[in-house]
Point group: C2
Chain length 329, copies 2
């Protein structure tokens, strides 16, 4: 998608919605870094509101501050909020928009690869609470998600890997042509690749497939959780990026599935080969933490639902006693 098209799309959405006011929310650092984009978006009537950088924004007290800003800028039910930034900005803006006046409309303009292919789609909003990740939130889809691959060019290699985790996951659970496209790429060169647009589009389509079938995440959508049950605990314990943690989670979940003869060993071998060719190094010393799984939102009593891969592009959900999982770890 070219930036020109993106701006045209944004203007079309705003023409349709006719908002009484517009608030652009971004983080302190991003407002500086994305000044060019805010200038290009060129909405003279919009107010820019700042939230903290990174996970610090996903706290109860920060939502309170953001809601106070909505009030001080007289945001009414027919106003619109724009989330400009990565997954954190999207999560925070989505959640605040979902509870302000019982819901005002918002638009996602994701600026990281991870947000563009995953978190900005599907309407899950969330903040952390008492140290638990995404413990509080809502299902509240944006009126539009505007994806522009130009943002990708300014990302670091680690931010590309962050997105690749979910892109690779999309390939394994549903669309193996993503894996084929990735075979000749590296994390370093991906931002300049001619295949980037196609890879982004395919990954979004996988996400939307499950979201449309199960918006409230009570069944099929849990397949998107592949690599996440163990990955979340690794992300928390070692403070690494979400995508990198999902990669670790996929490897370790595949190993468990192998032990139970649910997934052939070739799947994990193929994943490891792909990671190597992409130039993504794995620290195998990082292990999932059992006690944090006990606070997983997906837990139903003692039962946990784990996505397992039958072969590349085919996944299903199995029900596992959480105590059994302990033995595997």
């Amino acid at each position: 998608m070219s930036f020109l098209n993106s701006i045209e799309f944004l203007r079309a959405v705003l023409r349709k919605e006719k908002p009484t006011s517009i608030i652009i929310v971004s983080s302190k650092e991003l407002i500086k870094k994305l000044a060019w984009a805010i200038k290009k978006i060129n909405l003279p009537s919009a107010t820019v509101v700042e939230i903290p950088d990174g996970e610090a924004a996903k706290e109860w007290v920060e939502i309170e501050k953001l809601l106070k800003k909505f009030i001080s800028h007289n945001l009414d039910r027919n106003g619109i909020v724009i989330a400009l930034g990565g997954g954190t900005v999207g999560d925070v803006v989505g959640f605040a928009s979902s509870i302000y006046l019982r819901g005002v409309k918002y638009i996602q303009i994701p600026t990281t690869l991870l947000a563009q292919i995953d978190s900005a789609h599907g309407g899950k909003t969330a903040i952390n609470f008492l140290g638990y990740k995404n413990q509080i939130g809502s299902f509240y889809p944006p009126v539009a998600t505007i994806v522009d691959s130009r943002f990708i060019k300014s990302l670091s290699k680690e931010q590309i890997i962050d997105g690749l985790g979910e892109i690779i996951k999309a390939g394994f659970i549903k669309d193996p042509t993503i894996l084929t496209l990735l075979k000749k790429e590296t994390a370093d060169r991906l931002p300049e690749s001619r295949k980037l647009k196609s890879i982004i589009e395919k990954a979004i389509r996988v996400k939307q497939y499950y979201v449309n079938k199960d918006f409230k995440d009570t069944g099929l959508r849990q397949i998107l959780n592949f690599g996440h049950t163990l990955g979340h605990t690794i992300e928390l314990k070692y403070n690494i990026s979400h995508g990198r943690a999902v990669i670790m989670g996929m490897l370790q979940e595949l190993k468990i599935a192998e032990k139970s003869k649910l997934t052939p060993v070739s799947v994990r071998n193929n994943l490891e080969t792909l990671l190597k060719s992409l130039g993504i190094k794995i620290d195998y010393k990082m292990k999932a933490e059992y006690k944090n799984i006990l606070h997983d939102k997906k837990l139903r009593g003692n039962q946990i639902f784990l996505p397992v891969i039958s072969y590349e592009g085919k996944a299903r959900i199995i029900k596992l006693d959480v105590h059994k999982l302990k033995k595997f770890l």
Copy 2:
């Protein structure tokens, strides 16, 4: 509805939902006052959690405390929360349930007349914020609302009037047979009246009619707002009950509609006659506050949508410039 049936209904809901845990939430005072009901409900596995009495519970910081209690009692996505109390308890529990783990199921057991016929139906949840009433909230219906007229017997006359405000409104906007039933009643004797059950059922049916047609409150449901635009400002300014404020709001909104020849003067005369026969005294010195209307959630830019009564049982919505409203006040 007899209490026996109510308990049977509650048990049927719980048998269907099979919750992993049950949390009953009520206010400090109500837990004492309703000990008999908690005993009759008889759920040995349930935990009782306390929130502050009255509007003090509808604050951001109190929701934080309640969510922390949900976590400390290991409430998971398959747990259930029961709101036992009036509208405030229902609002707080509904809101907290809607954002905990992106939504856990909850049951309303309303114990006031107002909550039984109005707030416990329709899925609107809310808290106050920066002094603005119901500024933060969600649309999140309970899995069941259990109405038991036995709770009504322990209410004060003022609490009966609180409910009567919305019951009378239901009569004027949609079902005039409610007004006929009320004609031979008084606020004092209503709790013992044989007609109480029928009055409650009819009022609930009016509410549900509009909720089913317009769950997200973007059009027709606004007819339920009759008496509320001015009433809310009176409630805030004079610190009187919601229902009493709605009665004042209806009288003053009818007067404005008369001036614009939208409602015949007979409607207001009939309302005043009914109030007199019910034994509800009106303090005509209480006037609506213009500046608070500017923060009404129903405002769209400068436009406000006002329900007007054509005749008893027939209402429609008109669009009014908010500055014009000022002239009338």
